[in-house]
């Protein structure tokens, strides 16, 4: 029994450790090839920094040196960082130190990534600094939420202490798959230069790697427009088919042999919050496009209905949490004239995952056809009221907050915009220790309870069902 328990605990600890940061790691970085020779202490680094970063007359000074490709001067001493957060990173030749720098690069017109300052020893034993701009691939960051060395995908730009681009690496899933170098002439921004094919052949397949230097640009963390060249490689495998047919090929990005990289310090670093990418939330709908459809039916003689659908957390009770978790409230809008009818059923959601759902950017989701509601209440409204409500839904508040502005608040506010007051949705959700008062919020449970209390009225449905399908967006 005891052995089983210990085994179980070991298994659990392994599971938990899987989630731990893979930060403390070491050497698989762009600086691995740098010339670190021996142990570098923080005191040595501080001493070197004190002498070099604060002496303007020094020719190797970190102050007031011109940034390549621009007239802007760079003064590292003006960029604040916290020594106490300095991290020693081991590599095969010793160690180097990393500190976070303020400032963020702008890549593809979006501020993303982060900066670090590295202190290394070169081959002569001298201390040098390198500025690293680490830009995780936006889609990779969206999916992973956090950049780690093991599977880092993105770019690492390496600058010298004068903020002059020296080199860089392009990583894909933790493997080195391309190189970055400064663009010497800034004539074009997207121009292909030399192709360097290399070929490897076996009896049945041949592998061809094509590498091209492509010019591109971005704005570095110091705000300077930086043009660089990037070596992108593709590998094509030609399968000769062993004598039976043939042809066919597979093309994909390659990982450099022996690569094994990962963004320098790209572990649990303060990577910028992933921004929303086009198509990232495929389920989010454009409320304007949905509401626009109602314009296809003219107002005169049209019949307009607003329905509030409630999926209670624990149907039949006032519990705020139940088998349906926290529950949900959606709003259904229908406009009919003759045989034509348009319905849109939408809900207000947090555009986030995990704890971030407590307070997050909002999104509108199509709730048509799939929301298993318990109770609903419908209102016939005038064209003016209907337009006011659709205007509100088309321009929803930008923030979702589980307590102060959730799906219930949204539906309540939308109806309020058209002069409709929905049944009381406010209820006690907790105790506020700070003010020693009861915390109240609008919740699906309380709204559902209030609607249930109205059972028997013609516009109230307490038998539930599925929401009607939405008509979809109109362009």
């Amino acid at each position: 029994m005891k052995t089983k328990l210990i085994s179980m605990l070991l298994l659990l600890s392994m599971i938990i450790s899987c989630k731990k940061d893979q930060q403390s790691v070491n050497s698989k970085s762009a600086l691995q090839n740098s010339d670190s020779l021996q142990t570098l202490s923080l005191a040595q680094v501080k001493d070197w920094y004190g002498k070099n970063a604060s002496t303007p007359s020094n020719t190797n000074s970190l102050n007031a040196t011109s940034t390549a490709g621009s007239n802007k001067t760079f003064a590292l001493s003006s960029v604040p960082f916290a020594w106490e957060k300095a991290q020693s990173v081991n590599n095969t030749k010793g160690n180097y130190w990393l500190v976070y720098l303020d400032g963020q690069p702008k890549f593809k017109n979006v501020k993303q990534g982060y900066r670090k300052l590295a202190f290394i020893r070169d081959s002569t034993g001298k201390i040098q600094s390198r500025i690293l701009e680490i830009i995780p691939d936006a889609i990779y960051l969206q999916r992973k939420q956090k950049a780690t060395v093991a599977d880092f995908t993105g770019r690492v730009f390496i600058y010298d202490q004068n903020y002059k681009l020296i080199s860089g690496d392009v990583y894909g899933n933790g493997k080195l798959m391309g190189k970055i170098k400064p663009k010497l002439t800034s004539s074009a921004t997207t121009q292909t230069s030399t192709t360097q094919p290399s070929k490897f052949q076996t009896d049945e397949v041949s592998v061809q790697q094509d590498c091209q230097w492509n010019d591109s640009s971005y704005i570095d963390g110091d705000g300077v427009f930086t043009v660089y060249s990037e070596l992108d490689c593709t590998t094509t495998i030609y399968d000769d088919g062993g004598g039976s047919g043939g042809g066919g090929g597979y093309t994909g990005s390659t990982g450099d042999a022996g690569g094994g990289g990962g963004g320098t310090g790209s572990s649990s670093s303060p990577a910028s919050q992933p921004s929303n990418l086009p198509g990232e939330n495929k389920d989010a709908v454009n409320p304007k496009a949905l509401m626009k459809c109602f314009g296809n039916i003219t107002d005169p003689n049209a019949k307009m209905t607003v329905t509030v659908y409630v999926e209670e957390p624990w149907p039949g009770t006032s519990f705020d949490i139940g088998p349906n978790s926290v529950g949900h409230v959606a709003i259904g809008l229908t406009k009919s004239s003759g045989s034509t009818s348009i319905t849109q059923t939408v809900g207000f959601y947090p555009n986030a995952t995990g704890y971030a759902k407590l307070n997050a950017p909002s999104k509108i989701v199509d709730n048509g056809g799939d929301l298993n509601y318990n109770v609903s209440i419908s209102y016939s409204v005038s064209a003016t009221q209907f337009n006011q409500i659709t205007n509100y839904v088309a321009n929803p508040p930008g923030t979702y907050d589980l307590n102060t502005f959730n799906c219930t608040n949204f539906v309540s506010s939308a109806c309020q915009a058209g002069g409709i007051t929905i049944p009381d949705a406010m209820g006690v959700v907790g105790l506020n220790g700070a003010t020693m008062s009861l915390d109240k919020a609008m919740t699906p449970a309380h709204l559902g309870g209030s609607i249930e209390d109205m059972k028997g009225q013609s516009n109230v449905n307490t038998t539930g069902g599925y929401t009607p399908n939405s008509s979809g967006p109109c362009n």
Binding site: L12, D283, I321, N324, V365, G369, D370, N372
Partner: protein
Amino acid sequence: MKKILIIIVAIVIISNLPLFNFFFQENYTYSNIDGSFYYNEEGGKGKSFEGCQRKYAYFLETHPDIKDKTLYRTFTIKPWRFWEWYQMIFHHKRFSLTYLEEK
């Protein structure tokens, strides 16, 4: 030792309660082969695999020309997520769908 075991079991049970679905349950996602249908369960917020099936049935009705009518899951199965064991045991249908990697 018995106490530790009880604590572990309690953690597993509590973490599987619907209260945590909203925060911790993965937003299970589904798609058809060409991505023209996509569904996100939005953990604990009114959506479900049953709702997804309804929506997909409606989608197929309105898109009769779709040849591959298979619904795929676009999420990977993560058995170590003990807080989703309830879903894996009692709502296992969604996990039996063929996996399709999102592009």
